[in-house]
Amino acid sequence: MAEPAIELVGISKSFGPVRANHDIHLKVSRGTIHGIVGENGAGKSTLMSILYGFYQADSGEIRVGGKPVVIHSPNDAIAQGIGMVHQHFMLVENFTVLENVMLGAEGGALLKRGTAAARAELKRIEREYGLEVDADAVIEELPVGLQQRVEILKALYRGADILILDEPTGVLTPSEADHLFRILGKLKEEGKTVILITHKLREIMAITDSVSVMRRGEMVATLKTSETSMPQLAELMVGRSVLLRVDKASASPGKVLLSVRGLTVKDSRGVTMVDNVSFDVRAGEIVGVAGVAGNGQSELLEAIGGIRKAIAGEIVLNGETLDEATRRDPAALRRKGLAHVPEDRHHMGLVLPFEENENAILGYQNDPKYLSGPLLDLDAIRADAREKIRKYDIRPDNCRLRTANFSGGNQQKIVLSREMEQDPDVLIVGQPTRGVDVGAIEFIHRRLVAMRDAGKAVLLVSVELDEIRSLSDRILVMFAGRIVGERGAGATEQELGLLMAGVEQREAAE
């Protein structure tokens, strides 16, 4: 094993009563790609934030190149040759690539001299690592993949030898992700050390040399990638064995329950986000909508769910063409049998300061079974909440707890239980497992399949291609607001990836 580029010795960090990191030991060898996996909240991001100087550890030591160092701020980290590519890019969107790269390392109080030098240096780095970007392009006009490349360039420009990437592929198409992995491979060849944080086990298997697993703030294992497997990693992450594939029988679709015809939606700036979209969802099938985030899936879901105005098109629910008033009234839609699990549970699905039982009836509070006269029937509501907690294994099992105190996976289960237990005919679901840990994902997936098997129509929107592929009976791919293809359940990742990147559409247009 080569000498360690970076070594963490006994790092601990608490936020109040929450132990985010506990006695973490980690060695990352120089010139390798080291993966760190773990569920949400396992402490991966906290650990990397400590390494990058955003937080200081309560105890423990960081060694870079064998020497103990003190990292109090990102400045110190940069000085130690540590660079970080954040999950949410830290770019100034109306600046050029060059300005973003220079920021914080301008080379003098006046920009003129430094700019020329920076331009030359940037060119050199681009050539060395095959990272071409137009230095004068404005960030907001670049596709996400290139924006990420600018983040990598920023780190290299500051002389980073150790590059930390936090969930880098979440926003990328499969082909962009492949490109990123080639870049990382190139960096490794040049002797750089890469730390890759992810929850996608397949990425770990594909490109890392070694992998560390975190669980509940502790480092539970460090393994050579070649000597481990996805099921083993998943088991280490969750602490028990996990079913990665969804077991389901083939679908037996019945009559059409949800039909969308020529739906067109514009956003507040007047940009067409959903462009003349038509499709059907039948009883007893899950229709998945795949696509890179921002291609209109969210707007489509919101338009069907009644929280966004469509400027054209019609929606037929259970054989009934919805009039404009109903379409804009989520409560009326719920009464007609359409349940909506919104993409963003924090902003739309839940009121976090509310108690669990209050959230468990949100949107159904006028249902007679929760009322006694004009008042809420608290006993009935709480009994109902306890029943859902039991059925969906929501933890902790306390319906009086503030919803904010539940973990992401359990919050998502609260939303799902609320919508599913109303026994809707049509369920539309956005990102059901975003920020949800592996164990809960398995549960949520099983529930969605159970809905389908009970003869419900399920429309599933997700940016996780694996999720779409393992759950859907039919897959629609959205690109630039249009449905650019429909594939069966057996579609390959490459095939869908090309569609998601809009490749076929462009060819058809030529």
Binding site: M90, V92, N100, M102, L103, A109, G114
Partner: protein, 323 residues
């Protein structure tokens, strides 16, 4: 020819009326470009005007008056910074509080110190910024066109007017040609980018607010020791708000700020000129309507004529490191 003379006069008074707006709008530009909204411009201007007039009355020096105005306004800026940067308070509320403080305290202190119902004593010309007559202005005043323009428009203003005109290209240069400017613009758009680049978000914003305070002091001093010769209660008369409107109108760009302020100044000058004059077709316009004209036009311009003004993205939001 008389019409031309009138025009020069209106333009000259346009310049005089726009200067406090230029200073104040540039002050706001530094703050808002760094991501801190500053409703408190009005208060800084007012308190600055009071400090300038008081100091000039005591010391007999307009320059010391200006210094007092700048110091006062910077202090108010730091107060705003403490509330909105360090304590992450609401920037609008902090700004409004500063306006209240200025409005009340100037009258209170003025009364206590000078006993003239909130006014400060009338300043002699030696304690004011007075008109500077440029060389040969009188000699060539009679030359057609060039004469009146040189004598009436270019020459004959006080020194703060010229400083204001220089402050515009200077601000542009600072913003777009210096390291400080690059960082300032960055912190107003995405403080996270600045933080991860190893720079202090708070210190940058404080420095931006200090720039804002200095210019706010100039605006105040101009009102009381250049344009007039004493402080009168509420003499800023909403100019801080108009300056903010000009800033939006100018889309936070320095040269646009100058143009916007000149336009607002022109409307003001024009309305003064119109008073008591009879116009063709309409006849004599009521004074109130003429006085309201600049404000009405401001509303119309802001509502419809500038297209979409996109403010700095991080404006108004205190920076909290995300976990």
């Amino acid at each position: 020819m008389d019409l031309f003379g009138d025009l020069v006069q209106v333009l000259a008074s346009t310049v005089r009326l726009s200067i406090p707006l230029v200073f104040a709008a540039l002050a706001g530009l530094y703050a808002e470009r760094s991501g801190v909204f500053d409703i408190g411009l009005e208060g800084k201007m007012l308190f600055g005007a009071f400090a300038a007039a008081s100091a000039a009355a005591w010391t007999g020096s307009a320059w010391l008056g200006l210094l007092a105005a700048v110091l006062t306004s910077v202090l108010l800026s730091l107060l705003h910074g403490y509330a909105s940067i360090t304590q992450r308070g609401n920037q609008i509320i902090s700004g409004v509080a500063i306006n209240f403080i200025a409005s009340g305290l100037t009258i209170q202190l003025g009364n206590a110190w000078f006993g003239q119902g909130g006014r400060t004593p009338q300043l002699p010309n030696s304690a004011r910024f007075t008109e500077i007559v440029w060389p040969f202005a009188r000699e060539i005043a009679q030359v057609p066109i060039i004469g009146p323009v040189y004598a009436g428009l270019i020459s004959g203003h006080n020194v703060l007017v010229y400083i204001a005109f220089l402050a515009v290209p200077f601000t542009w240069w600072v913003l777009f040609r210096t390291r400080f400017g690059l960082r300032l613009r960055a912190v107003g758009e995405n403080p996270g980018a600045v933080d991860t680049a190893g720079l202090s978000v708070s210190w940058l914003r404080y420095r931006a607010l200090i720039c804002c305070g200095i210019l706010g002091g100039f605006a105040g001093a101009y009102l009381s020791v250049a344009q007039s010769a004493s402080f009168i209660r509420e003499m800023s008369a909403g100019k801080g708000y108009i300056a903010l409107a000009a800033l939006v109108f100018a889309k936070w760009k320095p040269f646009n700020v100058l143009m916007a302020c000149l336009l607002f100044g022109f409307l003001d000058a024009f309305s003064i000129r119109l008073q008591g004059k009879s116009l063709p077709v309409i006849g004599e316009m009521p004074v109130q309507l003429i006085q309201a004209l600049p404000y009405i036009l401001t509303v119309i311009l802001l509502a419809g004529f500038i297209g979409k003004a996109i403010p700095p993205k991080a404006g108004g939001v205190p920076y909290v490191k995300e976990r």
